[in-house]
């Protein structure tokens, strides 16, 4: 395993002393995304945790040019960067839109659907911490069933997580992948690959969030691993309609050693009010998706 570490770009693009929380899963994921994309990149992002990580005026810890824009507009902002760079003959620069689940699943969905439908040549990365975390853990359509949030504080979230992968697949895009900071090399490799592909590329990152999910910051990587090991957040790629598990999910699919979801749910305070019926629904939901992915992996 050490050999893999030394093949990756050693340069750091985020200077220490950011405002991200202790143990922030996004910090870890973004570190590897930027290592993969390197200098010749412009990112655009909305109001979000990442916007705060990128710093308050007049300083920024990130050594990559960044354009802030309003909450609904991330993918449109990227579309404008792509068009502007085309007009200025700088098509060598990679444009990455990066937004949270709120700025992707909810308010940002229209602009993303438009940009993807137009085949815009950019990377769209959704960092999914399953709620509006920057504003204090309100519910989003990415929040899983049974989770407590500040806007589902008693009854818990009543709907399953929106299947955004299906939505992006419906847009016939060039590359779609999921990744986790608990598996940084897999994440890094996917960004390296995405950088070389032309067209709309969508990367979905599963981001554990200590304050929002209610677990100690030291467990961020462990939580990310459990999410994969229970099949809640499988790691895969879809290219030209072909589905392929990667990393730990691939070995799980081969060995059949997926853990029951309770192992993951019981470690997070946000699921403490989940009832038995929701737990069973959650297990069935995970089973159903896993089986569908397995079927596709075998095609």
């Amino acid at each position: 395993m050490p050999e893999n570490l030394f093949k990756i770009n050693a340069k750091e693009y985020i200077l220490p002393g950011t405002r991200a929380c202790q143990g922030c899963g996004l910090s870890l994921a973004y570190r590897y995304a930027l290592k993969a994309l390197r200098e010749n990149t412009i990112v655009t992002l909305p109001a979000s945790c990442l916007c705060v990580l990128h710093g308050i005026y007049p300083s920024t810890p990130v050594m990559i040019p960044c354009l802030n824009n309003s909450f609904a507009s991330t993918a449109a902002s990227a579309s404008g960067l792509v068009a502007g760079l085309q007009a200025m003959n700088r098509t060598d620069i990679t444009v990455m839109a990066i937004a949270g689940d709120g700025g992707t699943f909810d308010m940002g969905i229209q602009a993303l659907s438009g940009a993807a439908e137009r085949g815009t040549d950019f990377i769209y990365c959704c960092y999914d911490n399953e709620g509006y975390m920057n504003t204090g853990t309100q519910r989003s359509s990415a929040t899983p069933l049974g989770a407590l949030t500040t806007t589902t504080p008693i009854a818990t979230k009543q709907q399953h997580k929106k299947d955004f992968i299906k939505i992006m697949e419906a847009h016939d895009i060039a590359y779609l992948a999921t990744a986790s900071p608990a598996y940084p090399i897999d994440l890094y490799d996917k960004f390296v690959k995405a950088k070389k592909i032309r067209g709309t590329r969508y990367l979905h990152l599963y981001i554990p969030c200590p304050p929002g999910w209610v677990f100690p910051p030291k467990d961020t990587v462990k939580m990310g691993r459990l999410a994969v090991e229970t099949g809640v957040t499988p790691l895969f790629e879809i290219e030209n309609g072909r589905f392929r598990f990667t990393g730990r999910s691939k070995s799980m699919a081969e060995k059949g050693n997926r853990l029951p979801v309770i192992n993951y749910l019981e470690k997070q305070g946000r699921f403490r009010k989940m009832n038995i019926e929701q737990l069973q629904q959650m297990q069935r939901w995970v089973d159903g998706k896993w089986q569908e992915y397995q079927r596709r992996a075998q095609e």
Binding site: S73, S77, G80, Q86
Partner: protein
């Protein structure tokens, strides 16, 4: 060598954008702007204009695309009307706060609810607080010329410019328009020099959160708080009138047409009664002034061309000798009175001589406004003013208010 063609206002605007060599266009169709977007698509797909056309899925995204394309150094253009303008309202603030020289045509149309597709100026007037420069055109020639002027103004002031013209009345009406040659336009418009440009060569983070207070950066420079950054926008807009007038002067020298800078006047040299308006409504008022003159009332017209920044000083001077002022406008600040009226009254605050002012709301949702109706209203007001009846509540012209 004149190249006069008969064309609609939308065609004129499209030609203005083409001659200005815009590089990125993002526009979403909406009546009565749609033909403008279509003509630009023709130019781009047909190779007449080398530009990227981003067929966005909505107006909010249209302006967003313009914003980000502008930050990497491209000259950009968009256009919309009514509810489309309202939909992008958030981004109007964003564009101005970003200090980007975006030019947008607003083909003026009334706003819903209820729906109307016809002309009034409520859409653009409602955006007067956003920090955009606003110019109102009175005919198709002025539309073409103003789009070109707008780039020069925007790129000097570093503020976005909204070029307004009345939907259907101008957008769909054919008028003779002299089309300038592209060489002269190219000489008139220097290439866009962005004040800041997003590039990997010098990585910066653009438009993050600013705290309420000023803070030092790592080089010891005391950097602005939010309020200072916003003040800079206002300061720039206060310098804009000089830029607008200079641009008009240079345009007149290069192309032979003078559109009046901040405002224009018609028969005001000896006027006792002034009719004030914007866009095609002010044009119509010149015919009304002629009718009133025939009756012996010394009427004149002030056409407010630039609504933002509001030319308070110029209008104050223009109104100095009037004994009565009648303001006709195609919009109202609900809960009070017409915006133009309020702003003109404010401009006359503590003026040495204050004429009585009557406000008429006219032509909402495309209701036709005829010169004789304007003349009738102005005459009624003038007669009331002569009797010392200075105060009159805001009237709605040719509208059933019973």
């Amino acid at each position: 060598m004149s190249n006069v063609q008969i064309m609609t206002g939308n065609s004129a605007a499209a030609i203005g954008a083409k001659l200005s060599a815009v590089q990125v266009v993002a526009a979403y169709p909406i009546t009565p702007q749609s033909q403008l977007a279509e003509i630009l698509s023709q130019y781009i797909e047909g190779g007449e204009l080398k530009a990227e056309y981003v067929r966005v899925e909505g107006e909010h995204s249209a302006l967003t695309v313009c914003i980000s394309a502008s930050t990497v150094g491209a000259r950009v253009f968009t256009a919309t009307s009514a509810n489309g303008l309202l939909y992008m309202h958030e981004q109007l603030h964003w564009a101005a706060g970003s200090r980007l020289p975006i030019v947008m045509c607003c083909v003026n149309r009334g706003v819903g609810a209820p729906w109307t597709i016809f002309n009034d100026q409520q859409d653009s007037l409602a955006q007067r607080d956003t920090g955009w420069i606003q110019i109102y055109c009175r005919n198709n020639q002025e539309i073409l010329d103003t789009v070109i002027q707008a780039y020069r103004i925007a790129e000097a002031v570093y503020a976005p410019v909204m070029v307004n013209y009345d939907g259907f009345v101008l957008s769909h009406t054919m008028m003779p328009v002299a089309v300038p040659d592209s060489e002269t336009v190219r000489d008139f418009l220097p290439p866009y020099r962005p004040h800041t440009i997003l590039s990997p060569d010098d990585p910066r983070n653009l438009n993050p959160v600013l705290f309420p207070w000023r803070r030092e950066n790592s080089a010891g420079v005391l950097c602005d708080g939010y309020m200072e950054m916003r003040y800079k926008l206002q300061a720039a807009l206060e310098k804009a009138p000089a830029v607008i007038q200079e641009t008009n002067r240079l345009f007149a020298a290069a192309f032979g047409r003078d559109h009046g800078g901040l405002h224009w006047e018609y028969r005001t040299e000896d006027a006792e009664l002034l009719l004030v308006g914007m866009g095609s409504l002010a044009s119509e008022a010149t015919a009304a002034a002629d009718l009133l003159r025939e009756e012996g009332i010394r009427a004149g017209v002030i056409g407010v061309r630039v609504f933002r920044p509001f030319p308070a000083g110029e209008l104050r001077a223009a109104c100095a000798r009037a004994r009565g002022i009648v303001i006709f406008e195609k919009g109202i600040s609900y809960g009070y009175e017409g915006a133009l009226c309020s702003e003109l009254k404010a401009a006359l605050y503590r003026a040495e001589h204050q004429a009585p002012i009557h406000n008429y709301i006219a032509g909402l949702g495309g209701r036709d406004v005829k010169a004789r109706e304007l003349a009738d209203a102005a005459r009624t007001s003038w007669q009331a003013m002569e009797k010392g009846n200075y105060d009159q509540p805001t009237s709605w012209l040719n509208c059933y208010t019973g």
